[in-house]
């Protein structure tokens, strides 16, 4: 039987997402109208707040950094056929690695401490991803369940550790002391130190470049290495993978460790870059946003970078909106995000049959 015709690529990756985004914005507008706000004005505030100033851009890119790491983490697991819901916990535990090195090895020069701290973040995240991967591969425990549970374990464990181990005696706030040596420079600090230029205050730091670099590295890993090939083979068809001499159990454990390691890089952005200390719940839900980012970016690094920027825009624009409009709070922003995920992720194929029909009618 013949295959149904396929849409041209530009429709697939360009027009369809654009239409879905438009639909999401229309639905958002309806909600603004329901609360007696002018949707065009509100959307204007959001966009201007995110991309209308250097400060807006800085926040946008700071959020984007976390979302890229988490989106990539979800994508790598997804290519191995696994749904990693545990990015939140993996990123959180990774903070332990960053803080242990950052706080204890401050006597070493920064160019040794920082790479070590980054590696430790990745290693702790990878470990927290590997354990559910091991349980899936060797014991058949479902990865979705175990990774969710591991989020809770991470959360409780970190509260205990931060409170009893990291919190300096006499300090009220439940957080570690400040990392004074081995932290990653913020844009503001670089501008002041090296260029004598006043950069607006923002948590944006050099980790953003690491995010783009890692996005490229993940693409290379999945599509240009033998291990990446094996991971995709297992994810698409594990019987064929076994035939090809690939061991799916091994691949599952590797993929989950890589995924956890990528999630762990969020700790680099937060603990070493933005906060310079270990805080409670510093991941702030980025692990869950990462699922939406990977979904929208179709598990491809380019798509993930673009989707992460869109979510960065929503986060920053939403914050600005809640400042500008007194009766719009951050929950409203969550509603808008939800609509975008709904239309671009869950209803991704809503337009497809209709567009396909249109295209092939035009062809005849």
């Amino acid at each position: 039987m013949s295959q149904r015709g396929e849409l041209p690529k530009w429709v697939d990756v360009g027009l369809i997402p654009a239409l879905n985004l438009l639909l999401a914005l229309l639905a958002t507008s309806v909600i603004f109208l329901l609360i007696n706000e002018n949707p065009i004005e509100c959307l204007g505030i959001m966009i201007k707040g995110a991309v209308g100033s250097l400060k807006g851009w800085s926040y946008l890119l700071y959020y984007t950094t976390n979302f890229i790491f988490m989106g990539l983490a979800v994508a790598v697991a997804f290519h191995a056929g696994l749904f990693n819901i545990g990015g939140e916990g993996q990123g959180y535990i990774a903070g332990l690695g960053a803080a242990l090195i950052g706080l204890n090895l401050e006597f070493l020069p920064w160019f040794i401490t920082i790479p070590l701290a980054i590696l430790a973040s990745v290693a702790f995240g990878a470990l927290w991803g590997f354990v559910p991967g091991y349980l899936q591969a060797k014991r058949g425990s479902h990865i979705v369940i175990t990774t969710i549970m591991f989020n809770f374990i991470a959360s409780s464990l970190m509260v205990y550790l931060i409170n009893y181990w990291f919190r300096p005696i006499g300090k009220m706030a439940v957080e570690s002391r400040e990392i004074t040596g081995a932290y990653i420079l913020s844009f503001r600090e670089i501008a002041r130190q090296f260029f004598d230029f006043k950069y607006p205050a923002s948590p944006l730091n050099l980790t953003v470049f690491l995010a783009f670099l890692v996005a490229w590295a993940v693409w290379y890993f999945l599509w240009r290495t033998k291990l990446g090939y094996a991971i995709r083979a297992v994810g698409l068809n594990s019987d064929a993978a076994i035939y090809a001499g690939i061991k799916p159990q091994r691949i599952i454990m590797i993929a989950m460790a890589v995924s956890g390691g990528l999630a762990g890089l969020v700790a680099v952005n937060e603990v070493l870059g933005a906060q310079h200390r270990l805080l409670l719940e510093f991941v702030q839900g980025a692990g869950f946003v990462g699922i939406a980012v990977a979904l929208m970016g179709r598990n491809h690094p380019i798509g993930i970078v673009l989707a992460a920027m869109l979510f960065g825009l929503l986060y920053q624009g939403g914050t600005e909106l809640s400042f500008a409009k007194t009766h719009i709070n951050r929950d409203m922003v969550v509603v808008i995000q939800g609509l975008i995920i709904l239309f671009m992720g869950a209803l991704e194929n809503a337009f497809r049959p209709w567009l396909t029909a249109l295209f092939f009618k035009a062809d005849d």
Binding site: S2, L236, Y243, G245
Partner: protein, 507 residues
């Protein structure tokens, strides 16, 4: 002449650039068995899907018993008395036969009355058409032949006068196929109309009254079965005369390459699916394993290819014992290539592009990239080279594997395994679902490889294929080797072994 049961008039259907049915006009007489043959992708399944309401024709008309009808969905088709038995059964495995039969016609909130009605109706149908089946059996536990019978009963229960069967014998043993043909004969005698889609010429000759031949979307010929021959049909199908026989010289077997000794493999229920099997394969010969599908051949292949670990016994490949290794990667490095039986699920990854599928199993090769890297350019180049050599169409390494026809997918796999220059090639079902033109090509390649001094182990359920390719034939039945014959053995002799009959004594 009576009104035809089904008339398809000027049916035309396109899928994007593919013209699947070109102005097809077909008339099926009432109370007859009408065969439709054609190569893969000739448009037979599309045509039947239009008749059964899965697709809408772009233009054309369908008449049932002389009345023009619109068939927009399968329920329209069922209402018109058309039933279809699909190649892949549409049955709910954990349900009983009875529950499957009433599926879709439960007729109310309570299932009881429908089941009671179905039970008596099923008994009547079974008696009328000689189709006995236990209504309370769990469908998933029935053999394939009986599952198919349930599909037919389901269609009849829904009042089908016209029954479409899509490649019905692909999954059946010869015995089961014979029984199916008897059932179809009875159905015809009772006034039902049967449309049989197949690419097996022998079936057409055996049971149809009329036959239509499709080629590249067109209906190219109609015959009365009694007035035509296998050769004439084959020629109409491919548009040129084809060799049904394989030309090959005498084998010159050399040293031992593979030796299987007393091999046993037990499944999770501790049933010996491979039962004390011993045989050997030498350089420069083709050893064929004949047998009805499901008699242990697949499991035997899996053991040799390192996919499953045998329970006991020994496999010796080039002097080394490999049975307990179960490491396909290592075996490939040692020179064992494997064309798996199920190409869609094992031989390639349909979501990969052709170039990626063309390295499946060989992905760790140093030639394809140093160390951990995979050199995309080299992968695409080697794929293109293999495609040209094996005449894969279209020769586009970047096209998704799923987009190639069955025959071309098989060529991609064969090209991959053969170009590795193996010492031993094991091939499962080399031409299942492959069209005649490609079969000829594949057979030629297998012979060439043998003549180059390689050892080949062939498993096929097509006895003709085994007989025309093999230098020695091993027959398997119920996991055991029933006997060994040379290539000149007669078909009846092998057929008896396949049925488990040894020297006149039933096994």
């Amino acid at each position: 002449m009576t009104t035809p049961a089904i008339e398809l008039i000027h049916i035309d259907k396109r899928f994007g650039p593919v013209h699947a049915n070109k102005d097809v006009t077909l008339s099926v007489g009432q109370g007859s068995i009408h065969g439709i043959i054609g190569e893969n992708g000739a448009g037979k399944s599309t045509l039947m899907s239009i008749l059964f309401g899965f697709y809408a024709a772009d233009s054309g008309e369908i008449r049932v018993k002389g009345q023009p009808v619109k068939i927009k969905s399968s329920s329209d088709a069922i209402a018109q008395g058309i039933g279809m038995v699909h190649q892949h059964f549409m049955l709910v495995d954990p349900f009983t036969v009875l529950e499957n039969v009433v599926l879709g016609v439960e007729g109310g909130a309570l299932i009881g009355p429908a089941l009671a009605k179905a039970r008596s109706e099923l008994k009547r149908l079974a008696d009328d058409y000689d189709m006995q089946v236990n209504p309370d059996a769990i469908v998933g536990e029935l053999p394939v032949g009986l599952q198919q019978r349930v599909e037919i009963l389901k269609a009849l229960y829904k009042g089908a006068d016209v029954l479409i069967l899509d490649e019905p014998t692909g999954v059946l043993t010869p015995d089961e196929a014979d029984h199916l043909f008897r059932i179809l004969g009875t159905l015809r005698d009772q006034g039902k109309t049967v449309i049989l889609i197949t690419h097996k010429l022998r079936e057409i000759m055996a049971i149809t009254d009329h036959v239509s031949v499709m080629r590249r979307g067109e209906l190219v010929a109609n015959f009365e079965t009694k007035d035509t021959s296998v050769d004439e049909l084959a020629e109409a199908m491919v548009g040129r005369s084809v060799l049904l026989h394989v030309e090959k010289g005498k084998a010159t077997p050399g040293e031992m390459v593979l030796e299987v000794k007393d091999l046993v493999w037990r499944d999770s229920k501790n049933v010996a699916r491979v039962d004390h099997v011993s045989f050997s394969v030498r350089k420069g010969e083709i050893v064929g394993i004949a047998g009805v599908s499901g008699n242990g051949q697949s499991e035997l292949l899996d053991c040799i290819a390192g996919i499953t670990k045998p329970t006991s016994g020994e496999i010796i490949f080039e002097g080394k014992s490999i049975g307990q290794l179960a490491d396909p990667r290592h075996l490939r490095e040692e020179g064992l290539a494997h064309v798996p039986e199920d190409r869609q699920h094992r031989g390639l990854i349909t979501a990969f592009d052709a170039s990626e599928s063309s390295i499946l199993g060989w992905q760790f090769e140093e030639e394809l990239g140093h160390g951990f890297r995979l050199n995309r350019k080299k992968v695409v180049e080697s794929c293109l080279r293999e495609m040209k050599e094996f005449d894969v169409r279209p020769a586009n390494p970047l096209l998704k594997s799923a987009k190639f026809s069955g025959g071309n997918q098989q060529k991609i796999i064969l090209a991959r395994e053969m170009s590795s220059n193996p010492d031993l090639l094991i091939i499962g079902q080399p031409t299942r679902g492959v069209d005649i033109g490609a079969i000829e090509f594949i057979h030629k390649r297998i012979i060439e490889l043998r003549d180059a001094g390689k050892a080949i182990l062939l498993v096929s359920v097509e006895l003709d294929e085994i007989r025309s390719l093999s230098d020695r034939i091993i027959v398997m039945f119920a996991g055991k080797v029933m006997g060994e014959r040379d290539s000149s053995a007669d078909e009846r002799d092998i057929g008896l072994l396949m049925a488990g009959v040894q020297k006149g004594v039933a096994a």
